[in-house]
Symmetry: C2
Subunit: 238 residues, 2 copies
């Protein structure tokens, strides 16, 4: 099989760099097509872990292909894997991103989500192509520990997971994040698109706002999500 | 005076885009050298505000110069200003970034800092050139509402502002952010470099850690700072 520079239509994608590649091998080993190692790479710990995790016949030294896929960046390890689908776990808490458009943001939020123990990550369409190597890289491989499911809309999600209490983060919300106890059985944190937020029609009594001064219009979306996840985690892990 | 593409040695810098330019005019009007407007720009509210805020003779329609400075991005308003220095206010709380290296991170953190009402922003050297247009843009103009002062080191800062209680964010800290009451008269939040963190020798009883699962190594630095600022703001604004 010939490996080409990523397009969203491909049925495979790849990790760029040792860190996300190791996460791929640890958590989605059976999806691995091939691991590429650059001939100048000498970190023995990383090499040992790669050789321990997957069969030798999946490991290839191929400087030319690494250079092609990594587009001038300093990358010495690449993991090529078959894309896969997953479903959210209906008995655990969720995060839902409504049509997120920035790949770096989505990856960074995946990392925070895993850090604050929400392992189920919903995305409404069109949203980003979450297996784009840029998302994977920004997630530092956290993506391989998450269940990810896409939905046509927030309503589509609500129909499929109707036992979860949704907390939508909206600038028009009356209740502040700090006041919320997150004491429901099942919780979903919902965040809007970077530019447009969540549509007004979804405003309800559970909607939350992160209190800040009016010196700024709004917080950066990845920061807002991380603050919400932090508060959620402090209250749920008690 | 001939305006060139930014270099850190220049005694001027510039804002790219309407939003940060308006912030410049609102908060640092006397530093403005010139505002450039693109001939295709037609947002009347923005034009009115610009003409209200600064004298007409500082306003120039110059598509060619805008294109040169903005490097292919869609920019229609540019504000050129004389760089200035400021000092931290000794009677207010501070944030101190130890040698931050990423311009986008510093700008984003400036925006969060202003949002959570810390208006005094210290940076230890070498650190980034905080007047680089990339920092200004990531800050969305928040930079013009902050006092910014640079220091040779954390020790240099501590000598100059010895009445502040420093809370250093370190992965080796014993105390969690959530336990900290921030009940001192004057508070400084201190964050390390993205790659290296704060040196171990600074570890003390006030050092703080943001609790998260061990599924991830660490949080992204701008997210960590925003979480700390949020918790600080919730406790200090009571």
């Amino acid at each position: 099989m010939e490996i080409k520079t990523y397009k969203s239509s491909f049925d495979y994608s790849y990790t760029l760099g040792a860190f996300p590649t190791i996460e791929l091998l640890r958590h989605q080993k059976d999806k691995v097509i091939k691991v590429l190692i650059h001939s100048t790479f000498t970190n023995q710990n990383v090499l040992d872990e790669i050789y321990n995790l997957i069969p030798n016949n999946l490991i290839e030294y191929n400087d030319k292909l690494i250079n092609k896929l990594s587009d001038k960046e300093n990358v010495y390890i690449v993991g090529i894997f078959k894309k896969y689908t997953s479903k959210l776990n209906p008995t655990e808490d969720h995060i839902l991103m409504d049509n997120p458009s920035n790949m770096g943001n989505v990856g960074t939020i995946m990392r925070s989500s895993l850090g604050f123990e929400i392992k189920n990550f919903g995305i409404t369409k069109p949203g980003v192509d979450y297996f784009n190597p840029k998302v994977i890289r920004a997630s530092m491989g956290a993506i391989f520990s998450l269940n990810i499911e896409t939905f046509d809309s927030i309503d589509d999600y609500s129909n499929k997971y109707n036992k979860h209490t949704q907390y939508k983060f909206m600038l028009k919300a009356k209740k502040s994040l700090r006041e919320c106890s997150f004491d429901k059985d099942l919780v979903t944190l919902v965040f809007g698109n970077e530019a447009t937020g969540i549509a007004d029609k979804y405003l309800d009594d559970n909607a939350l706002i992160i209190r800040h001064s009016n010196n700024i219009d709004s917080l950066n979306v990845t920061n807002a999500v991380s603050i919400a996840l932090y508060e959620y985690h402090e209250k749920r892990s008690k």
